[in-house]
């Protein structure tokens, strides 16, 4: 998945792992980031995503594609009130948007961009 433009994740390519349960689509798929990402709603170590539609707000009408869209939307609009990444959440909640963006950009460069050097 490509990082959405005009975000600190722009230019990055993020790998996701989808685990589709047997009861899908009655049960939501389990999705996590394989690529490291600095985002308040993504666990920095495990890549777990805190997204309501992957938990209690799941509807069988959703598809894997719509889940991808939702994740892209989440990357563009982080939700610092339910943080899995406390550092990132704290930066945003304290209003340090510049600090958050530079951190996120740095990790995108480090983890999500093909190495050139």
């Amino acid at each position: 998945m490509q990082g959405p433009s005009e975000t600190p994740y722009e230019g990055g390519v993020f790998q996701l792992a989808f685990a589709v349960p047997e009861q899908y689509p009655l049960q939501p798929p389990q999705v996590r980031f394989l690529t490291k990402i600095f985002h308040p709603n993504v666990h920095f170590k495990t890549g777990e995503i805190c997204l309501d539609i992957l938990k209690n707000a799941w509807s069988p009408a959703w598809t894997l594609q719509s889940v991808c869209r939702a994740i892209i939307a989440l990357m563009a609009h982080p939700e610092p009130d339910s943080p899995l990444n406390c550092d990132s959440g704290n930066l945003l909640r304290s209003g340090d948007i510049r600090g958050f963006q530079s951190m996120a950009k740095m990790y995108t460069r480090l983890a999500a961009m093909p190495k050139k050097r």
């Binding site: 009861q23 689509p25 009655l26 707000a57 509807s59 069988p60 009408a61």
Partner: protein, 320 residues
Amino acid sequence: MVSDSVTIYSSSNPKEFAKKKRVNRSAKLKQCKLDVRREQWLSQVKNKVCKVEANGQGGTVDLGIERERTIVKLESKPMGEEENEESINNYISDTESLVNTPTSHSSSVLGRIGSGASFTGSSCHSSSSSSSGHCCLGSMSGEDEEGDDECLDDWEAIADALAATDEKKELENDILDSPQESNGIASRMGPCAEATNHMLSGLDLSQLQKQESEVNVQRASVSNCRAWRSDDAFRPQSLPNLSKHFSLPMNRDPHFGIGDEAWNYNTLSELTSCPICTEDFDVTDTSFLPCSCGFRLCLFCYKRILEDNDGRCPGCRKQY
């Protein structure tokens, strides 16, 4: 006579009638095509009648109304269509006798008018018999639904029958010129010839088209009636709208079944399968609307959502 043939068909195919419930939807689609086919026949008859005498207009207009009613009844109540058809055919044969009775009287006095009027009568016959053929098709469609192969196997026999049909048609045309005894023969010829044709139209429309064009050549009074263009004045109103008409592949596609499927897919793509399990909807599922938001799913998934999940509509998250 006509109603007799109907009774024979309906009684000889009780099995198909039972099957029809299952294949109701696809039968409906075929019905639509057959209606179009019938319109074509009727317009040919109309042309003829208009040429012969203005007297003929009344008969065809009556039939037109009758036809409309037939179509309406078929679409509103496809389950009991054979009964409907039967009653309609009875009605038609009543009107026939009405048309025919004064004919036989007057023609004994005035041979000229008699010939015109008997023409009207026979056109009534052929069109009413076309609805009888149509009726038998109602049961036929059930049959050819599960076995296109069967139909193909029978093709040779049908081709023979068609040749015979063409001869009959010729005979009929000759007979129509002589006033008196034509009614009886035409009424005997009409139903079987038309019924054969319509059975065939259920089997393979494009083949019929070919045969029909031969018949058209024989019918010298009729100009090219192969198909309607969208701007054609004789194009009947009951034809489907333009896009549908174009997507109907029946005039070009040699494989009837495949064309039918393609049509299905084009027009009903979002309705043919359950969005949850991706299984195709069956007849019950198609008419199953569990939620006011319009989100549709098959009964199996509905049951699973009610029992195993929270019982809320996947489309709008409202409680079922």
